[in-house]
């Protein structure tokens, strides 16, 4: 065997060993949950949790292992789940892993330990890009994004100390180390940030500016009035359905193209922020894209119909 052939074989062997190649599915992972909903989480279709997941599992494989699925475009996109297909030109299945919309098809998105996968059939006439949702809380803070955990910062405005403590306590209860700090003092593109404050105080933040530009930019179906004194809740068609005044709060998540999501716990005033912080629990946020709070009333956003 010549030197060239041996070198080529050695290179191939090295590539095989180092490049994640091998026979069989490889080692599996644990505790992955799957939720199926429609209408932005308003209707529950199904849910399951797998304690053991085979190796090389992708979001698509896990879905197909659990439900009858039909696909299109070469198997990369879901057409129907459990017989439920999009009944309209601007309705499709979207998926979120740990509350973050994946950048690639389900057939190539790997599943990692502790992931919460959420499939939702919804109207995308207002926007087809909803970069982050809050319905998987305490994800993505616990298990991160694509198997990578990120440092978490809680950025607090000046006059919402109680709300800030509450948010931090909720994260700590989920075993997420986080300490409050002032707005603009530490979060970066590789940091999962929660910004807590009244809308006028936080509206200079990038995430808040995205929300100001509407669902098309942020994926959040709620916007604040000019002075931050009112909170307008939208339906999936980007129409204002309800306007909340003083004491209104909002929990939402969004991201620009280059960074991990930022969560906002905000409101029209301090009372609204406190109400929103009180709603930062897995139970209250469960399967919601965003959550508006009006006193003790919790309103999943976007609002459906004339809610």
């Amino acid at each position: 065997m010549s030197f060239r052939v041996r070198t080529a074989l050695a290179a191939v062997a090295t590539a095989v060993v180092c490049g994640g190649c091998g026979l069989g599915p490889g080692p599996g992972t644990k505790s992955v949950s799957l939720t199926i909903t429609k209408g932005f989480g308003s209707q529950h279709i199904g849910a399951l949790t797998r304690s053991q997941v085979p190796g090389s599992e992708t979001v698509m494989r896990m879905l197909e292992r659990s439900y009858p699925v039909s696909t299109r475009y070469g198997g990369g996109f879901v057409a129907s789940i459990d017989g439920l297909a999009a009944a309209g030109p601007e309705r499709d299945w979207f998926y979120y892993v740990n509350g973050v919309q994946a950048a690639q098809g389900a057939a190539t998105t790997g599943v990692h330990a502790g992931d919460h996968i959420w499939w939702d059939l919804h109207d995308w006439s207002a926007t087809d890009a909803i970069p982050a949702v809050v319905g998987s809380f305490p994800e993505p803070f616990v298990n991160g994004i694509a198997g990578k955990r990120y440092p978490v910062t809680v950025e607090c405005a000046a006059n919402v100390g109680a709300a800030c403590k509450r948010v931090t306590a909720q994260l700590n209860a989920a075993h997420v180390p986080a300490a409050p700090q002032l707005i603009g003092t530490g979060s970066g593109p590789d940091t999962l940030g929660i910004v807590v404050g009244t809308w006028p105080e936080i509206r200079g933040e990038v995430a808040a500016e995205l929300i100001d530009h509407g669902p098309g930019a942020s994926g959040v179906y709620a916007t604040f009035g000019a002075g931050g004194g009112s909170l307008r809740l939208l339906n999936p068609r980007n129409q204002v359905v309800r306007t909340l005044g003083a004491g209104a709060g909002l929990i939402a998540a969004t991201a620009d193209n280059s960074s991990v999501p930022t969560w906002l716990v905000t409101g029209t005033d301090a009372a609204g922020v406190n109400a929103a912080a009180a709603a930062l629990t897995a139970t209250a946020l469960h399967d919601h894209f965003a959550l508006a709070v009006d006193g003790t009333t919790r309103l999943p956003v976007p609002l459906q119909g004339s809610q």
Binding site: P25, G26, S56, E64, G105
Partner: protein, 286 residues
């Protein structure tokens, strides 16, 4: 690989019946996805070829089809992300991205390959066992000039092959390096074009351009004609029944599900129906 008259039931049947029989085999191959049924189709075509005296050519074609099967399997396993059972991980590949080889994609690739080989065999059986001139005669009442052109074109192909061989042999006798294939092809094509001009001139002189629609040619149906026509209908019927009833069902994704015993029944039925016309050896044309 050209048509030669042989003493077989398929060669004795009229071209329309032969066409219908080969077309039915191809339609059944396209209709069915079950591996047992597809294997039966390939076997049926091979058996028909053996019974028609062209088994050796078909066997050679089947062997030549194996690389096609391998290529189809390879492409499918690399391109398809479907399937639940991962049998190998290739990691991140250039262009293809993250690639896992699944059992389902491999099986489906093999099914596609098997179908391709069966279709190739159907085409070769048609080429070897159905008289092309008779086939063209079927169409001459539809379009006389097109049928004439097609007849001449098909006649030219074997001439082109023979010319190429003769030229290659002649050039090998000359000193120096052997000529390239391109040179041979150019010379052979030039010869064929010259010949085509001669043929066109002869046709013009004989007044073929002003010929009128020929009278209908309706010879009586022979026993072999009827047998192959009935076999064609039966093959399509069995294939459609196997698909509609689910007796020959096959699902590759997300996991492989294939009908077993019922598919075997369909397969036996297909093979029997495909071979039955060859059992009658009476009245063969030689």
């Amino acid at each position: 690989m050209i048509y030669r008259r042989r003493a077989s039931p398929l060669h004795s049947a009229r071209a329309g019946a032969g066409c219908a029989y080969c077309l039915a085999l191809a339609i059944a191959t396209l209709t069915l996805s079950n591996p047992i049924a597809l294997a039966a189709m390939a076997l049926g075509v091979l058996g028909a070829g053996v019974a028609a005296g062209v088994g050796r050519q078909l066997g050679r074609a089947a062997l030549l089809g194996l690389p096609v099967v391998a290529a189809i399997v390879l492409i499918n396993v690399l391109v398809s992300h479907d399937g639940l059972t991962v049998i190998a991980r290739l990691g991140d590949l250039p262009i293809l991205g993250h690639t896992d080889i699944t059992l389902e994609a491999t099986v489906y690739g093999a099914i596609l390959g098997l179908r391709a080989v069966a279709l190739i065999l159907c085409g070769i059986l048609y080429t070897l066992a159905v008289d092309p001139d008779e086939v063209l005669r079927l169409f001459r009442r539809v379009s006389f000039r097109s049928a004439l052109s097609a007849t001449l074109a098909t006649r030219m192909v074997p001439i082109l092959i023979r010319d190429g061989r003769r030229l290659a042999e002649a050039q090998r006798c000359r000193p120096g390096p052997p000529p390239s294939r391109l040179t041979l092809m150019r010379v052979a094509c030039t010869g064929v074009l010259d010949r085509a001009l001669d043929v066109a001139a002869a046709l013009e002189v004989r007044g073929y351009g002003v010929a009128r629609r020929p009278p209908a040619y309706r010879p009586p149906y022979s026993r072999h004609d009827l047998e192959f026509l009935v076999a064609a209908v039966a093959i399509i019927a069995v294939a459609i029944a196997g698909r509609v009833t689910g007796w020959a069902s096959f699902i590759a994704y997300p996991s492989v599900h294939a009908a077993g015993w019922s598919a075997l029944g369909v397969a036996v039925g297909l093979v029997a129906v495909a071979w039955l016309p060859f059992a009658d050896r009476r009245g063969l044309r030689r």
